[in-house]
Amino acid sequence: MMTFLLKGVLRDRGRSLFPFIVVTTGVFLTVTLYCYIRGAELDVVRSNANLRHGHVKVVTRAYAKDVDQIPNDLALLGASAQIRDLEREYPDLEWVPRIEFGGLLDIPDAHGETRAQAPVAGFGADLRTPGSPEPGLLGLANILVAGRLPEASGEILLSAGLAERLKVGPGDVATLIGTTMHGAMSMANFKVAGTIRFGIGALDRMGLVADIADVRKALDMDDAAGEILGLSRDGLYRPDRLAAVAAAFNARFAGSGDEFLPVMQTLRDQPGMAMMFDRIRDVTNIILGVFLLAMSLVMWNAGLVGTLRRYGEFGVRLAIGEDKGRIYRSLVAESLMIGVLGSIAGTVLGLALSFYLQAVGINLAGVLKNVSFLMPIVIRSRVAPAAFVVGFVPGLLATLVGTGIAGRGIYRRQTAQLFKELES
């Protein structure tokens, strides 16, 4: 009987093709958008974690309070000992020290007079210790525009945008005018080793990356670190687990009021990030909901048209001896077949496009001018395992709901009436 129905479905284009196309399209869009959003989320998480916040971050309580002013006078002292402790306690996380700083970059001319000047937002990371994870985390090799990575003490990387504005390039000298940890003015000479482009608005406008040893020297921050970032070794951010880790870590010092005790924060705790995660979840749910609704409506409509067209057939089938329940179930079974086939086709197409977008990405430079968190300019899709099923649920549900409602007409009509439509 199932084969018999399937034959009918496949041969009657009007019955199968339109619903099939609707389901395929809906599922295709669902899968594609889902992968793209997942990709955006992962890209945003990766940028923010690797460049700025880690999956967790350890700072002093006082630093945490005034974090937007980059209060290096409140930095963690004895950073190497603290990192050793953290490594011992949380071996599945990789721990790296960072110092963020602001300042003025001064470019001298041949006579030592200021030729150009610009504010910079820089950070120091361990770029030169052999085996340091930092060049990899920052992806420096991939984003180098000109020159090379710092090899000797005193060498820095400038964002390409900043370098262009200041008209400097590899080999040029630049002076950083900043503030030491103790509040004094500091001036330190650096040599530009190379220029980089992060593909992230704020960093590309005024970014400077230096080796943390040089930054410590320049800002008088011996063995200090503004922040210690912890990143899981497999690169995956697990919000719930890390929230528990941070809570346990912080509970240890709960009794004390000392402002210089360390505090651990998760990526989600960082400014703008919680909202970003929630937004992404909301948008995902809304998109899935909208597609489910739209597909259901279209399928309902297609089902109505289809069953109206087929009242004659139902009449014959009733006369031959099917009961209404059985005809109704066969309608649902037919739509189930179409739903399954359409969902498979839509998923395959959606995954294909998503794999392509995972490799290529879409450039969003125009859209992303004013966001508070780091947002990469090129967003790639991400084919997560859930993408293989995320389209199926709405696809099948829509077909079943649509046909289910439309098919009830069979019950509402008097048998004789269905039968009468044979004669017209």
Partner: protein, 233 residues
């Protein structure tokens, strides 16, 4: 009902509500049909022939009175029981053939057997036999759209008799056929009636059909006006 009656109606009334008013389509119909009869309901359009056939075929229920078909009281049957009765024992033939267009001749005839759960081998044998009865064994693979009206009605007959029902109800089966085809399918049905003992009840106002009937039951305004058995027919 072991008295050889396949159909017995008692004071059968069917009233259709129509807005404020109502239409009495059948008005106190009392009718007996014996197993093996070749009988017809005749009468002008609107006299209640289709309504009566639909009730006898358990597609509709009487408003009052009783219709007993193959020992079942139609007015008491659930939807499922009614479907079961049609499925096992009753074949329908319609004025407009009503073949399922997406299925081949073979598959159209196969459909009732699928509902009855016949095995593939039993299906093949029964379909072959039914198509031979209607002289269409060579068109098994054709689609309904490739058939003439006469051929289509033959397929419909094959579909109605393939499960060897006790009763075939044929509602104006020749209304869309020319004279030659009309006589052709009636001869076929006469053969089936004679050889298989299938009871046939027609509705018609077509003289060509009436010629073949051995009994004519005339309906006028929902009442049996005349009931004649033709000797020697």
């Amino acid at each position: 009902m072991n008295d050889g009656m396949i159909i017995r109606t008692t004071s059968l009334v069917k009233i259709y509500p129509l807005g404020e008013q109502s239409i009495t389509a059948l008005d106190d119909v009392n009718l007996d049909v014996r197993t093996g009869e070749f009988a017809g309901l005749v009468g002008p359009s609107g006299s209640g022939k289709t309504t009566l056939l639909n009730i006898l075929g358990s597609l509709d229920v009487p408003t009052r009175g009783s219709a007993e078909v193959l020992g079942e009281r139609i007015e008491t049957l659930s939807h499922r029981k009614a479907a079961d009765l049609r499925n096992r024992h009753i074949g329908f033939i319609f004025q407009t053939f009503n073949l399922l267009p997406v299925y081949s001749v073979y598959e159209n005839v196969e459909f009732p057997l699928l509902l009855l759960g016949f095995s593939p081998a039993a299906r093949r044998k029964a379909i072959q036999a039914a198509l031979e009865w209607v002289h269409l064994a060579d068109r098994a693979k054709s689609r309904p759209s490739q058939l003439s009206g006469g051929q289509s009605q033959r397929v419909a007959i094959a579909r109605a008799i393939v499960k060897k029902p006790a009763l075939v109800l044929a509602d104006e089966p020749t209304a869309n056929l020319d004279a030659e085809n009309s006589h052709g399918i009636l001869r076929t049905m006469e053969d089936i009636n004679r050889e298989l003992g299938t009871t046939f009840l027609f509705s018609t106002h077509d003289g060509k059909v009436i010629q073949h009937l051995r009994r004519t039951i005339t309906l006028v305004d929902g009442r049996v006006a005349k009931d004649e058995v033709r000797s020697g027919a």
